[in-house]
Amino acid sequence: MIYLQLFLSFFKIGLFGFGGGLAILSLIQMEVEQNGWMTQQEFVDIVAVSQITPGPIGINCATYVGYTVGGIWGSVLATSAIVLPSLIIMLSICKAYFWLNRRFKGNPYFEQTLRMLRFTVLGLIASAALLLMKPTTFIDSTSWIIFGIVAFLTISPEIFRKKEGNKLSTFNSQLSTFLSHPILLIVLAGVAGYLIYR
């Protein structure tokens, strides 16, 4: 019953996936791994494709995993299953919006839970990255150099933003914002990979 399993897995991911796409990756990864649906390498490739194509990363991943596991119907099922919990929960929230707003705004139970979940989500994102740092994805020292450069360029706008005022750092700030674009970084890493490993 591959279809039932696919539906249940992605329903669970939609239901417990707090914190958006990157945090949801760790849940998708765990389901994919536990069900033995694909290798780690295949999963990273899917994440790569999801990041360079338009749309929410979670939808892209669900569609791709669904197709790999169960063909076209698998992809329809996985994508619907990840959206379904959102539909149920968000529609309930919308219907009870004014009541909820009055009841839960400033409620310590509610506000603290949301605050703690924000911290936990950081851990989920970190674990998604840690789980992928394996010999299958990091094949040699060049891999670590690519990792270092991409990580630095992604963080660099934060570093250069601090020193405002002088002209050179404004230039650096604009340049680093341009260079930190994920799609550009993936394309550059792909070109580097082609030149190095070909």
């Binding site: 994508t79 674990s127 994920p182």
Partner: protein, 179 residues
Amino acid sequence: MFFQLFWTYLKIGTFTLGGGYAMLPLIQREVVDRRGWIDEQEFLNMIALAQAAPGLIAVNSAIFIGWRIGGWKGVCGAVLGAVLPSFLIILGIAMVFADWKELPAVEAVFKGIRPAVVALIAAPLFKLAKSAKISWLTALIPIVAALLIWLLGVNPVWVIVATIVITLIVVDIVERRRK
């Protein structure tokens, strides 16, 4: 209303790269500035809700705005518009990628891309940690969560459930003391 919402979200879904967060400014421009369907304050409330609820932020926002503007039909239009472009594009890629994957050139390209993808997952953590106003003490929460999942293979679902349960218990104890 169905087609207007469908069309609006289809445009947003087709032209935003980089996931849900990247969609928010575009949604704001279309829905608040251009169409005037909801005002700025309600848009901000919507973002807060879409982030607090589980699921994908782009889908959650589509549901909220669809419901506010067009009821059931609005929800269907907005969600289909938000999901369909990604679905079709990825389906197309998935169909051909299986054949390309074996080519040595494609494999070389992906050997370069894989570590970059891991960096793109890890690096935003710094910015996210800063915006979550993390302290040395609260930094323990993500560290413990990451270690549980990474080293012990705990399912992230349980980490989320544990976070909710422990927080509720602690807040309950604190609230009772106060009374």
